[in-house]
C-alpha cells in the first residue's frame, strides 16, 4: 500500500491508499461527525452528516468523508460556513423525527440546529441503517430490513426470523442513534401485527 499525502484542515496527512477521508482525518486528530458510520460495517454514505469540502485541480466539491477515498494532493476542509449549514439542515430534518435523541441533541448544539424548524414526524427512525446493516454484515441474520421506498421507507423485522434470532441478541438496540427504543418498538410491533 502506497502512501498518499493530502491536507486536512491545514494539517499535512500521510495516509494509506484505500483509506477514507474519515479515517485519514482521525490519524491527525480531526473528528468529522457521523451518524450512520460504524467502524465494523461497510461505508454506507446515507446520513450525509460527514459531508466535507474537497479542493482538487482547482475545483471544490462536496463529498462524504465516510466513503470518499484519499487522493494525493487534495485539500480537505471539514468545517466551513457551507458545510456547517448543510449539517445544520440535515440535523434539523432528523430532529423532526427524534427531537429527544441524545446524539442528535449534542450535534444540534454544535451546529445551532433548531429542533422545531420542520414539522414533527411520528417515526423516531432517521434511517441510519445501523441495525439493518449490523444484522446483515456482522450477524448474517437479516432479521431487520428496510421496506418501502422514498419518504415511506422504514425498518421492519421479519417476524419468522426475528422470533428465532432477536430475543437473545438485541445487539442492534444500543447502536440506534435516536434511542434503543426505536428498534425495540418496531420489533415488538412486528409481533403485534402477526397476532
Amino acid at each position: 500500500m502506497s502512501e498518499v499525502r493530502l491536507t486536512i484542515d491545514g494539517k499535512e496527512v500521510a495516509a494509506t491508499e484505500g483509506m477514507t477521508l474519515l479515517e485519514a482525518a482521525r490519524t491527525v486528530g480531526v473528528e468529522i461527525p457521523t451518524l450512520c458510520h460504524h467502524d465494523k460495517l461497510e461505508p454506507y454514505g446515507g446520513c450525509r452528516v460527514c459531508t466535507v469540502e474537497v479542493e482538487a485541480w482547482g475545483r471544490t466539491k462536496y463529498v462524504v468523508g465516510c466513503v470518499y477515498p484519499v487522493e494525493a494532493d487534495i485539500v480537505v476542509r471539514t468545517r466551513s460556513e457551507k458545510i456547517d449549514q448543510i449539517r445544520k439542515t440535515i440535523l434539523e430534518l432528523m430532529l423532526a423525527h427524534a427531537p429527544d435523541s441524545h446524539d442528535l441533541a449534542e450535534m444540534a448544539k454544535e451546529y445551532k440546529a433548531d429542533p422545531e424548524k420542520y414539522r414533527r414526524e411520528s417515526s423516531f427512525c432517521i434511517h441510519c441503517g445501523l441495525c439493518v446493516r449490523y444484522c446483515d454484515e456482522i450477524k448474517g441474520k437479516n432479521a431487520v430490513t428496510f421496506v418501502d421506498q422514498g419518504a415511506s421507507r422504514e425498518i421492519s423485522f421479519i417476524p419468522e426470523i426475528a422470533a428465532k434470532e432477536c430475543w437473545d441478541c438485541k445487539e442492534c438496540f444500543p447502536l440506534c442513534p435516536t434511542s434503543a427504543l426505536q428498534a425495540a418498538y418496531v420489533l415488538a410491533r412486528s409481533f403485534e401485527d402477526v397476532g
Binding site: 454514505g45 450525509r48 440535515i90 422514498g150 415511506s152
Partner: protein, 561 residues
C-alpha cells in the same frame, strides 16, 4: 430468416426483399402504438385487414400495424404511402372507404383529412400538416415505414447496413472516433458526450465490458423512448451492437419497463430474429465478433433509471444508487466497465455511421447536434411525439407543431425535464432547443419531456406535484433527499392550501441548497430544480399564496378568509 454469414449476403438478401416488392404498391400504416390503444386502434387494424381481404386486395395493398406515428392528439393516425396522405382520428368504420380510395387511387376522403383548427381548411399531405411540417423525423419517421415485428421491413429500409460497415470497413477505433467527432451527446438527460463515455469504458481495465440500453423512461410526461423502441426495435439494437464493437464489449443489457408489454414483445421478437439471422450472437455477419444481449425489467420505481441504481438492479439487487465515488463507465455491473446510454442515443449511432460526422454535426447548434425527440404534453393543442432538429426554437415546437395552447388559454410557461427539470416563462420561448442554453435558463432538456403550461396552472401546485412524485419514487436511502422532500412537500401542501407562513420560501431554499449539494445521487441533487426555477421566475405567485392567501392562477383551493 436464414443465417447471414457475410456482408455480401446481407446486401443480396436486401436486394431480394426489395425486388419482391412492387415499389408502386400502396401501404396503409396504422398507428398501433400503446398511446392509441385506448382509442381503440386494435379494432381499426382488424377492420383494415378484413377489408383488404374482402376487397380482394391482398398483395396489392399492404396493411401495417406500426409503431407510434407521433400525432397522438389526432390518433389513431393512418398514413398512406406512397401517396403520402394522412388520415386522422380514423375509426374501424372508415376502413372500407380508405381501402377503396387507396386501391382505386380515388380522391382523398375529405372528412378524414386533418382540418386546420382556425380556418377549417383540409390538409392532404402528411408533410403539409403543421404538426409534421416543422419536424425532422429522422429517428421516429421510419415508424411509418416498417412493421416493428418484421426484420425484412427493417432490412428493406437499409437496416443493419451501418453494422455491416462498422464491422467490415471500420476498425473499433474508427467507430469510436466517428462518434466522438459527431459530438453525439447523451439523450437521457445529462447531455454528456457519448463518445467520451465510450472511450472511458473502452480504456478501463476489466475482463468483461458491458454496453447497456437505458429504456427505463420513468419520468412523468416522457413517452418518446418507448415510441421509438417499440416501433423500431432493430434500430436501437443495431446501434448497441456497433457501440459494443467500438468499446470491446461482448455482452449487453437492455433495461426496460415491466409495464410495457408491447415493447417487450417487439423487443424479444427482434432479438430472436437478429440471433437467427446471425446479426446477434457468435460471429456476427461472419466477422468473428461475438456479442449478445439480455433483457431486464425495472422494479417499478423512478430511481431505477439512475445509472448506478440501474446497474445494481441488473445484478439482482435493490435499485439503490451506490455511494462510491467511481463512474459506472469504469466500474459498473459486477464492478466491470459498463457503458450506459439511453434508447435515443443508441438509435442515433447507425445514422452517424451511415451518413457520417458532417451530416450529423451539420444539424443543430454549435454544441447540440442532430435531432431530438420530444414528448409534447400538457396544455398544448397537439400532444404527441415530436422530433426536431436541435436548435429549433421552442416557439416552433409549442406554437407551430404543438398548435399553441388548447381551449383558448394563454401560454404561461414551458417545463422541460419532468420532476428534475425546470420551467421558463412563456415570453422566453424564442430560446433554441440546446442543452447548454436551456440548462443556463434553469430548464434543462432532460430526456425531452416538454410540458406546456397554461395560465390557469399554478406554479406552486406544479412544483408540489413533482415533489410529491419524487417522495414516492426516490429510494429513501439518504437524508437530504428523503427527509428534504418530505418537508418540502409539507411546506408546499401548506402553501397550496392557504396555510403558508412567512419564512416558508426561505425554508424551501435552505432544503434545496442542502439537497443539491449533499444528496447521494443525481436524483436528490436535481430534485429541487423545479422549485428553483419556479422561485426564479414565479416567486410572486408563491408570495401571493403565503401573504395574501390567494392563488393567482385560480388553481389551488384556498378558502377565502
Amino acid at each position: 430468416m436464414q443465417r447471414i454469414g457475410s456482408p455480401e449476403k446481407l446486401e443480396e438478401i436486401r436486394k431480394a426483399i426489395l425486388e419482391a416488392r412492387d415499389p408502386k404498391a400502396s401501404s396503409i400504416a396504422i398507428c398501433a402504438a400503446p398511446n392509441c390503444h385506448a382509442l381503440g386502434n386494435g379494432a381499426v387494424v382488424d377492420a383494415f385487414e378484413k377489408e383488404v381481404k374482402a376487397q380482394g386486395l391482398e398483395g396489392k395493398v399492404r396493411v401495417m400495424a406500426t409503431g407510434c406515428l407521433g400525432f397522438c392528439e389526432m390518433g389513431p393516425v393512418v398514413i398512406v404511402n406512397p401517396s403520402n396522405i394522412c388520415y386522422v382520428q380514423v375509426g374501424a368504420d372508415d376502413a372500407a372507404e380508405i381501402v377503396s380510395q387507396v386501391a382505386n387511387g380515388e380522391k382523398p376522403i375529405e372528412r378524414l383529412l386533418y382540418a386546420d383548427p382556425d380556418t377549417g381548411e383540409r390538409v392532404e399531405a402528411l408533410d403539409k400538416i403543421p404538426f409534421y411540417r416543422e419536424q425532422s423525423r429522422i429517428l421516429i419517421g421510419d415508424n411509418a415505414r416498417i412493421d416493428p415485428t418484421s426484420l425484412e421491413d427493417y432490412l428493406a429500409i437499409g437496416g443493419y447496413a451501418a453494422l455491416s460497415k462498422a464491422l467490415f470497413a471500420m476498425t473499433p477505433e474508427a467507430i469510436l472516433d466517428e462518434v466522438k467527432e459527431s459530438n453525439l451527446r447523451g439523450r437521457g438527460g445529462g447531455g454528456f458526450p457519448a463518445g467520451r463515455k465510450w472511450e472511458t469504458t473502452r480504456n478501463a481495465p476489466g475482463e468483461e465490458k458491458y454496453v447497456i440500453v437505458n429504456g427505463h423512461e420513468g419520468e412523468p410526461g416522457a413517452f418518446m423512448d418507448r415510441a421509438l423502441f417499440t416501433g423500431n426495435p432493430h434500430l436501437v439494437l443495431e446501434g448497441l451492437i456497433i457501440g459494443a464493437r467500438a468499446i470491446g464489449a461482448t455482452k449487453g443489457f437492455i433495461y426496460t419497463r415491466h409495464d410495457s408489454p408491447m415493447l417487450l414483445a417487439n423487443l424479444n421478437r427482434a432479438l430472436e430474429q437478429a440471433r437467427e439471422a446471425g446479426l446477434l450472437g457468435n460471429d456476427i455477419l461472419g466477422s468473428g465478433f461475438d456479442f449478445d444481449v439480455e433483457v431486464h425489467f425495472d422494479v417499478g420505481i423512478f430511481v431505477s433509471g439512475e445509472s448506478s441504481a440501474l446497474m445494481r438492479s441488473l445484478e439482482g439487487n435493490m435499485p439503490e444508487p451506490r455511494p462510491k465515488y467511481v463512474r459506472t463507465s469504469v466500474s459498473g455491473v459486477n464492478d466491470m466497465p459498463s457503458n450506459l446510454n439511453n434508447v435515443e442515443t443508441w438509435a442515433n449511432v447507425p445514422y452517424i455511421i451511415n451518413n457520417g460526422v458532417e451530416w450529423f454535426a451539420g444539424m443543430g447548434t454549435e454544441k447540440s447536434n442532430g435531432s431530438k425527440l420530444i414528448s409534447l404534453s400538457g396544455s398544448a393543442r397537439n400532444i404527441g411525439v415530436v422530433e426536431v432538429e436541435m436548435g429549433t426554437s421552442l416557439k416552433t415546437v409549442v406554437e407551430t407543431i404543438g398548435g399553441g395552447v388548447a381551449n383558448g388559454k394563454k401560454l404561461k410557461a414551458v417545463h422541460f425535464g419532468g420532476p428534475m427539470g425546470g420551467s421558463i416563462p412563456g415570453d422566453m420561448i424564442d430560446t433554441p432547443l440546446d442543452f447548454d442554453e436551456l440548462g443556463k435558463l434553469g430548464a434543462p432538456m432532460g430526456a425531452g419531456a416538454l410540458l406546456v403550461i397554461d395560465d390557469e396552472t399554478c406554479m406552486v401546485s406544479l412544483t408540489r406535484y413533482f415533489v410529491e412524485f419524487l417522495t414516492k419514487e426516490s429510494c429513501g436511502k439518504c437524508t437530504p433527499c428523503r427527509e428534504g422532500m418530505r418537508q418540502m412537500l409539507n411546506i408546499l401542501n401548506d402553501i397550496c392550501s392557504g396555510e403558508g407562513r412567512p419564512g416558508d420560501i426561505e425554508r424551501l431554499e435552505e432544503i434545496a441548497d442542502t439537497m443539491s449539494v449533499a444528496s447521494l445521487c443525481s436524483l436528490g441533487k436535481t430534485a429541487p430544480d423545479p422549485l428553483r426555477s419556479a422561485l426564479r421566475y414565479f416567486k410572486a405567485e408563491y408570495e401571493a399564496h403565503i401573504n395574501e392567501k390567494k392563488c393567482p392562477a385560480g388553481d389551488c383551493a384556498i378558502e377565502a378568509n
